[in-house]
């Protein structure tokens, strides 16, 4: 294959040679800039042309247009001639550009989108609440099998990962505390530290974050995929309320599973702290449990577990909401899934902060 070439053979006469193709064009794309000829009308001899494709025809045509030249073609084979005449006849209009927005307009569009999303969330919460009320009026319509299945997938199957994480978290808390407490000879207070920290904050929070990543994303992906494959539409036409079938069982399941998981995380976390206390501070298991029983009250446990009810609503709600916001293609499923995880973790932490303020006001 010869590289593309162009040569002046006489005044206003140019001869083309080689392959004017994507592969053969090479540097000619950038170097073709000679003046075609005074007055603009020139002749292009194509008898030496090996091949020409769209890219080659366009490079040639751009050169002619740039210099305001018109070309008559001589000796072009039939196929290139047809292609070239089509390209030459195509109006060289400036490229259409996508609408660009000023920074102010972008802020406005973002705000409008955020407002729409908030309204959408509110209406979703409303719809779900109405569906829940309808279900309460007819409790026999609750799909217990689906609820149990969701508890199994979202709760039971998460036991290993949550157990391990909170055990490690307990170790970390005790280890960080041990160093400080040893300075003051207040070794035994590690029990209070681990107990309060795990029961009130860490166990509920880490459980909620893991479940948001594990189940919240799965909810968004499941519902999003069902929207792309038109299963949700099918459900509506058959007369099944997708909220009743898909959302409520998930909400109920998480309302059951998350508190239970948190209690489990409490136990494993405190156990982790206990192991660390024995290794680092020489506090025996008996001593630890003895103090734990005297110092910590049911309130701490209930405060921690109570919060998770709200977390469960946030995770299931945001996961399903973002799933339902999917539209169009599979691409959108991924986007909504990511959003669901980010938003639910963010909201869980915001809610946790609000709880801290409220509980400290109430003196709990």
């Amino acid at each position: 294959m010869e590289p593309a070439a162009i040569r002046r053979i006489a005044d206003r006469e140019w001869e083309l040679g080689g392959s004017w193709t994507v592969r053969g064009l090479g540097e000619l794309v950038h170097s073709l800039d000679a003046e075609p000829g005074q007055g603009g009308a020139i002749t292009l001899d194509g008898s030496g042309l090996e091949a020409i494709d769209t890219a080659g025809a366009w490079v040639l045509q751009r050169w002619l247009t740039r210099h305001g030249a018109q070309a008559t073609r001589r000796g072009w084979p039939a196929q290139p001639e047809r292609l070239m005449s089509l390209v030459a006849a195509h109006p060289q209009a400036p490229l259409l550009q996508a609408a660009r927005y000023t920074p102010l307009a972008r802020v406005g569009r973002r705000a409008a989108a955020a407002a729409r999303q908030t309204l959408g969330l509110l209406s979703f919460i409303g719809e779900t609440a109405l569906a829940a009320l309808r279900l309460l009026a007819h409790p026999d319509r609750i799909r217990w099998r689906t609820v149990l299945r969701n508890i199994q997938i979202g709760g039971f199957d998460a036991l290993p990962i949550i157990g391990l994480t909170s055990f490690l978290l307990g170790i970390v808390v005790a280890y960080q505390g041990a160093d400080q407490l040893q300075h003051y000879g207040a070794n035994i207070f590690v029990v209070d530290l681990v107990g309060y920290a795990m029961l009130r904050e860490f166990a509920p929070l880490i459980t909620a974050i893991i479940i948001a990543g594990r189940s919240g994303s799965a909810y968004a992906a499941q519902i999003g995929t069902m929207i792309v494959t038109e299963e949700i539409d099918a459900m509506r036409t058959i007369g099944i309320d997708p909220i009743e079938l898909l959302v409520l069982p998930k909400v109920i399941a998480l309302l059951v599973a998350l508190p239970l998981l948190t209690v489990y995380a409490d136990m494993l976390g405190v156990f982790g702290g206990m192991v660390m206390a024995r290794a680092q501070l020489d506090i025996g298991m008996h001593e630890f449990i003895d103090r734990f029983g005297r110092e910590l009250h049911g309130t701490s446990l209930l405060v921690g577990v109570g919060k998770t009810l709200v977390f469960a609503l946030i995770i299931a709600g945001i996961g399903c909401f973002q799933g339902f916001r999917t539209h169009g293609s599979a691409d959108s499923v991924g986007r909504q899934t990511t959003l669901s995880v980010v938003q639910s973790i963010f909201l869980v932490i915001v809610a946790d902060a609000l709880f801290s303020v409220v509980f400290s006001r109430l003196g709990l």
Partner: protein, 260 residues
């Protein structure tokens, strides 16, 4: 020495998925410059055959030559060179959702040429106009297009590099009759303009009658018959008869005759 007039040459191709035998010693030839159609019922292995031609899948045994190259012996570089000479239009478009339609069409050029960005965009717009879409469509995301527009945009990307060999997977499936007729017309124009070889998988009877030069009917793991629709109509195999004997088939034939 491979026959240069044969663009695709498949010999004794066998493909199995587990115990399910899809192709059982299949032979197929596509000649340069023709419009070749592969027909056959669902599950007859048409799509698998297409995937084997475009190097997405390997048969369990048998040889496949595409544009004179034995696909089993190609290294990575040679495969890439071969892929650049082929264009594929997928059944559901296969357009990248993260890019606009214009960027989708320009992508092969951007990857495989040293052309500047403005030129690539102009070429992409021109290809788009060849397929009958307005320039505004180039700025849209693929998921904003209707089914017919998606097929056209996907065809525009398939011809981005002016391929010698163009594969079309179900070019008219899921289209209304008017759009399907538009795609028929479009395929004929592309064939004329670029002088390329076209291989399509379809069971659109109008497409088979009016556009295809030769048709291969797949069934029972092999090619039951190859030839123009006229020639196939004389064959006496129950699966092939299915393409001629029912009322829809007769209507398609009458339409084709009326056009001539």
């Amino acid at each position: 020495m491979p026959d240069t007039d044969l663009v695709i040459e498949m010999r004794k191709v066998c493909t199995r998925f587990g115990r399910n035998v899809v192709h059982d010693g299949l032979d197929l030839e596509v000649r340069r410059g023709e419009v070749f159609a592969i027909a056959g019922g669902s599950g007859s292995g048409k799509s698998v055959l297409l995937r084997e031609m475009i190097l997405l899948q390997r048969p369990n045994s048998g040889s496949i030559r595409v544009l004179g190259e034995d696909v089993a012996t190609l290294d990575e570089e040679q495969s890439l060179a071969l892929r650049k000479r082929c264009g594929v239009m997928f059944q559901h478009g296969g357009l990248f959702g993260a890019l606009t339609v214009r960027e989708n069409i320009g992508l092969p050029l951007r990857e495989h040429s040293s052309l500047d960005s403005a030129l690539i965009d102009s070429i992409a717009d021109w290809k788009l106009s060849l397929t009958g879409l307005a320039p505004e469509a180039g700025l849209k995301q693929p998921d904003e297009l209707s089914g017919g527009m998606l097929k056209r945009a996907s065809l525009a990307r398939a011809i981005a590099l002016d391929p010698e060999l163009l594969f079309l997977d179900e070019p008219t499936s899921g289209l209304d009759p008017a759009s399907a007729a538009g795609v028929d017309e479009l395929i004929r124009r592309m064939h004329e303009l670029f002088g390329l070889t076209l291989v399509m998988v379809t069971h659109d009877l109008d497409l088979l009658w009016q556009v295809a030069d030769r048709v291969a009917v797949l069934g029972e793991g092999r090619v039951l018959g190859t030839g123009s629709m006229e020639e196939l109509s004389h064959l006496d195999h129950p699966i092939i008869r299915g393409y001629f004997d029912d009322p829809r088939a007769r209507k398609a034939r009458d339409r084709a005759k009326a056009q001539e």
